[in-house]
Amino acid sequence: MAPPIELNEMEPEFKEMVKERVPNANFDLCLTCGTCTAGCPASELFDMDPRKLVRMLVLGLDEEIRKTEWAWVCTMCGRCSNACPMKVDIPKLVFNMRGSWPRDKRPKGILGSCDKHIKTGNAMGVPTDDFIWTVEDVAEEIRNAQPQFKDMQVTVDRKGAYMAINQNSREPVTEPDELGPLWKILHTVGVDWTYPSVMWAGENYCLFLADDEGWRYILEEFVDHIDNTLKCPMVVNTE
């Protein structure tokens, strides 16, 4: 028979660390009911599931917690915590697990996108000038091809516009024709809008990377540009 686990010998340091950052994550309140696991599409992948993870955390199996690649398979979708009777914050736990990986060991795809976003304002790494050029080029094409949109305005950094709209970088970079439909809708409604040139992209890989510093930098740059340069009272998320 395996020796019983001595609870008072456990030192759940990882738990204490996460609790400090997320004071209301409620890990100690887990009832082990399994509601989270039953409704989690990532259950069983890498031999892990959310209830098991919380147990491991509470028991102080810190090394396994820090190591498991499951941290990148859980999508932090929040379906578990939404249904949890004790409001245990599993997504925030996973976020902190990701953050405990050395930055250069985190998945390359996410890392690369985050780095590009910090440097260029979008995860595809397109220079801002190229973005502006593409936008103007596609708009001109539409104005010429469809007479009913001959007055359609698409601007970048137009100060005082009512709405600043973000844009996933996939469209301007890989499928610029997909930009048009949204613009036409905005034109039809008569919206007073512009794209910001600073941190214009809608994606958030630094958040996924659990790079707090990077993510905060992106947000601060964005907020400063909107509030102090463009002075748009409304920001619209397009995804």
Binding site: P41, A42, L45, F46, E69, W72, V73, T75, M76, C77, G78, R79, N82, A83, P107, K108, G109, I110, S113, I142, A145, Q146, Q148, F149, A164, I165, N168, R170, E175, D177, E178, G180, P181, L182, K184, I185, T188, V189, G190, G202, E203, Y205, F208, L209, D212, W215, R216, L219, E220, V223, I226, D227, C232, P233, M234, V235, V236, N237, T238, E239
Partner: protein, 178 residues
């Protein structure tokens, strides 16, 4: 911004909420007449970031109002479960770029089964991650649905969708209204 308590003066909203508002106010006149005889069936994905994690039931309701207005109430088939309790597509949280392809697809099997159960020919995915993931699992598991953006169908319904803006329409609608 909430997370870091970064103060900001602007208000923050989603394009879905605005579509719904503009439709209600009559600024965006969209009719589903185009689909009256075609009867093409649509379902919609609830992106976790927009619905469960940010604007909650309000966003789920707006999303359905918008989609039903575009495709017709009788041509909309919801997933089960849906709204706040819908499943994540499996492409969120960076999963599409994390490199764990096998696990990502295993995760997405639930979404695939949900979609197949609706029998819909089109899945509208108002999030790029969802769009790419749902397309990928459809391909991987042999589904024959088409993944589209809301703006594509909205412009189609209004008769303003250009010929070059139809990448995400299947053969049945590629030429429609041209």
């Amino acid at each position: 911004m909430k997370k870091f308590k970064i103060p900001h003066k602007f208000q923050f909203t989603s394009i879905i909420a605005l579509y719904a508002q503009w439709m209600r106010e009559g600024k965006l006149k969209v009719s589903s007449d185009w689909n009256k005889d075609l009867k093409i069936k649509f379902t919609v994905q609830d992106p976790c970031n927009i619905v469960r994690k940010t604007w909650r039931q309000q966003a789920a309701d707006d999303l359905r109002y918008v989609v039903k207005t575009i495709v017709g109430e009788e041509n909309f088939i919801d997933m089960v479960p849906n709204g706040i309790n819908n499943y994540c597509c499996g492409g969120g949280g960076g999963a599409l770029q994390a490199g764990y392809t096998e696990q990502r697809r295993a995760y997405g099997k639930i979404k695939f089964d949900q979609i197949m159960a609706t029998g819909a020919q089109y899945v509208l995915a108002p999030c790029h991650n969802c769009h790419a993931q749902i397309h990928d699992i459809g391909h991987h598991y042999g589904g024959h649905y088409q993944v589209s953006h809301i703006w594509t169908l909205m412009c189609l319904a209004m008769g303003i969708l250009g010929e070059n803006e139809r990448t995400y329409l299947a053969e049945d609608l590629k030429e429609f209204g041209l």
